[in-house]
Symmetry: C2
Subunit: 190 residues, 2 copies
């Protein structure tokens, strides 16, 4: 988190400065780019996948590019599903099927042995081609049943340490303060 003191007592000026600064970064997703290449996540690590995505898009657009790859690592499953988190239940799996498969794999495992962590590797390629790579992790426990409709992926099953609700239940602003993705992005210091 970058903190900046705005040296004014003028409320109208402050409001205006906040509004202007809030718009100094425009984020554009791949949907908005004509003929954006489809990138297969075939790397063996999060870093390889995130780098591949970022490099491909940077090469195509020449614009500063952000990419990330992330996954859920469950200790009782020796770190699986890991980089295969999005297609754990098969190449066309959705979050629901992935969640069902994970619960099945952990059947009979008590809560105290369901430790897991979410990991995110973020890559930023600046205009000059300089590459920055950061990692964020968020530790937690896999719930016995899915709870909550918020978030995505394994969020209905993931109870972050220090809370007794899943990411599916917790307010977005809480998730976005403590999540693996939030930590990785903050470290990039755009």
């Amino acid at each position: 988190m970058t903190v900046i003191i705005v040296s004014t007592r003028n409320k109208e000026k402050l409001r205006e400065i906040k509004s202007i600064l809030g718009k100094t970064i425009a984020l554009i997703s791949l949907d908005k780019i004509q003929n954006a290449p489809k990138i297969k996540e075939t790397g063996k690590t999060y870093k390889a996948n995130a780098l591949k995505k970022a490099r491909t898009i940077f090469k195509k657009t020449g614009l500063p590019t952000f990419a990330e790859d992330s996954g859920l690592e469950v200790r009782a499953l020796k770190g699986r599903p890991g980089i295969y988190s999005a297609r754990y239940a098969g190449p066309n799996a959705d979050s629901k099927l992935n969640n069902i498969k994970l619960l099945k794999a952990l059947e009979g495992v008590p809560l105290k042995r369901r430790q897991a962590l979410y990991r995110c590797v973020a890559v930023f390629i600046a205009k000059d081609g300089g590459i920055k790579i950061t990692e964020g992790i968020c530790k937690g426990t896999i719930a016995l049943t899915p709870k909550g409709e918020k978030g995505f992926g394994y969020d209905p099953l993931f109870i972050p340490d220090g809370y007794n609700k899943t990411f599916g239940e917790l307010a977005e602003r809480i998730k976005n303060r403590i999540s693996h993705r939030a930590k990785a992005i903050r470290k990039l210091r755009f």
Copy 2:
């Protein structure tokens, strides 16, 4: 404006990334700082005033500090009120009195000879003490009568070039795209 491509087609991820990035800068005004010194704008230039404000607050807080000084320069008045814009009608003047004084000073001057410009000098002192100074200007015309309730200062009288409404009438998002302050802040490239 910084444009960043987010290399994902996942709408939920994009939403989350936008939300996280939107919070990577926290702006704190002087009101929130205990015993923040009162700074007199006694400099002879915008730059001197903005630098004085930024340096004083940076020295006190040790935190990255933003400051700006700005004013309205009217060609028919040889650049006045300029750095005295906020206290044009006297040391305790408010915007209303300043606007009245400006209209009086331009009495009888036709619209085509009421050219003016808003100028803003912005200063940013980074954590390591490095100083960046930028300037933004916005050209326009002084209206014959005040119009609109938006903005502040001389906004009800300032018609930016290319528009036929005053800053007091134009939507905030338009002002914050074309204004002197927007231009100076964007150049700082936080």
